[in-house]
């Protein structure tokens, strides 16, 4: 009879996710989507436990972390444990979030904990209160249109290029820069709310 201890389960999950990410980094969109979807489940659990007092903020922060993971994906190197990399990003965004909170109200929540990211899972998405679509509307056309056409309308890069009159590489660059800008907008918006 085979026995599995929790540690084995975690490391199996880690290597499975890592394999998906590495495929994604090589350009396999299907594997990358699978990676993000699985990661979202774990991150949601991870964040929900840390934001137990403020469940309404979980989904916003989750989206922010996913966007950050995507925008930082070129800094992942295969020899690094995926958990360490993702947790560092999640913690960084969480700390940033709390700094914003602390400025808003003098309130303290404990930051300590070392529990394993992949030990948490939560498949129940809540409603995000921050609407990324609205933020998307603030991007310049050359970034917004590629995102809207390729993603929200499901067109290919070539079709989008034809409609918008941009070159295919400009469409790709537009999506890339647009997502970076979206990350900055989220941050800028939070900063603004602090004041």
């Amino acid at each position: 009879m085979q026995r599995t201890n929790p540690q084995d389960v975690l490391s199996a999950r880690e290597s499975q996710l890592q394999a998906l990410l590495l495929l994604g980094l090589a350009g396999d969109a299907g594997a990358y989507r699978e990676f993000l979807a699985a990661l979202a489940v774990h991150l949601r659990g991870f964040l929900r436990r840390r934001l137990a007092q403020r469940p309404a903020e979980v989904e916003d922060l989750l989206q922010e972390v996913l966007l950050a993971v995507h925008n930082a994906r070129h800094t992942y190197q295969a020899q690094q444990p995926l958990t360490a990399w993702v947790q560092a990003i999640a913690r960084y965004k969480l700390a940033d979030h709390w700094r914003g909170q602390a400025r808003r109200e003098a309130r303290h929540e404990p930051l300590e904990d070392d529990s394993e990211l992949f030990a948490c899972a939560d498949e129940e998405p809540a409603q995000a209160s921050r609407d990324l679509n609205k933020l998307l509307g603030q991007l310049p056309d050359r970034q917004r249109l590629p995102i809207v056409h390729v993603k929200l309308e499901g067109l290919s890069v070539e079709e989008t290029a034809r409609i918008t009159g941009l070159s295919s590489s400009a469409v790709k660059v537009g999506i890339h820069r647009g997502l970076k800008a979206l990350g900055r907008l989220i941050r800028g918006k939070d900063d603004h709310e602090d004041r």
Binding site: G24, R33, Q63, L66, H74, R91, L136, V150
Partner: protein
């Protein structure tokens, strides 16, 4: 937007990623910054006229070894701290080694010199400007390295800023050696290090503000 939609959006945007993107970005920034420092040195200070002769002496290469070793360690630290979940760790401690060596050399040099010559070994002729010149020359490297870091993902902003500043200061010192006429070890051990320390401290102070993402 629902999280699922965001995931689809991100997956659609999944272009293949260059595995050496980080190294390329950092090296490009370093070279561009170094070129800037080089041009500034030539334009503002001028290359020392006896460079060809002095380059044949081991002492000149010992002088270059100080900023070179600090710079290589700083580059290693910077590329580590540019990635989430990677610490600087023992590398910070390794920085002590070149410092120790230069201070040891300075002590030996001072001990072997007559008392009245010691002040000269420490102050040389350019102590008033040396550190500030280095700090000024570090500006282009500092700007370029911080540009590179902003496109990466540092999560320990103060440390990453300090490492970037150290890289800028060391590189600037290396370039400044083309001009600087001082050949006394105690001088390097004080004024060069002070010049390197300035951008390092500025980097540590500015990191959390400039590198936030």
């Amino acid at each position: 937007m629902k999280t699922d939609e965001l995931i689809s959006l991100l997956a659609t945007a999944a272009e293949p990623v260059d595995r050496h993107a980080l190294a390329r970005r950092l090296l490009l920034a370093l070279l561009a910054g170094m070129l800037g420092a080089l041009l500034m040195t030539v334009a503002i200070y001028g290359v020392r006229s006896d460079l060809a002769e002095v380059a044949r002496t081991p002492l000149f290469w010992a002088k270059l070894a100080l900023p070179t070793s600090l710079g290589l360690l700083a580059l290693w630290l910077t590329q580590r701290l540019a990635r989430p979940g990677v610490r600087g760790g023992a590398l910070w401690g390794l920085l002590g080694l070149p410092l120790l060596l230069v201070w040891l050399g300075a002590a030996v040099s001072l001990a072997g010199a007559p008392v009245e010559a010691r002040a000269d070994l420490i102050f040389g002729r350019t102590w008033r400007t040396c550190a500030l010149n280095i700090a000024l020359l570090s500006a282009p490297v500092f700007a370029a390295v911080f540009w590179a870091l902003r496109g990466l993902a540092p999560t320990r902003l103060r440390q990453a800023g300090a490492a970037g500043g150290l890289l800028a200061g060391s590189t600037a010192t290396l370039v400044y050696c083309l001009h600087c006429p001082e050949m006394a070890v105690p001088f390097w051990g004080l004024w060069y290090l002070l010049g390197i320390l300035l951008p390092t401290v500025i980097g540590a102070l500015a990191g959390p503000r400039l590198l936030r993402w």
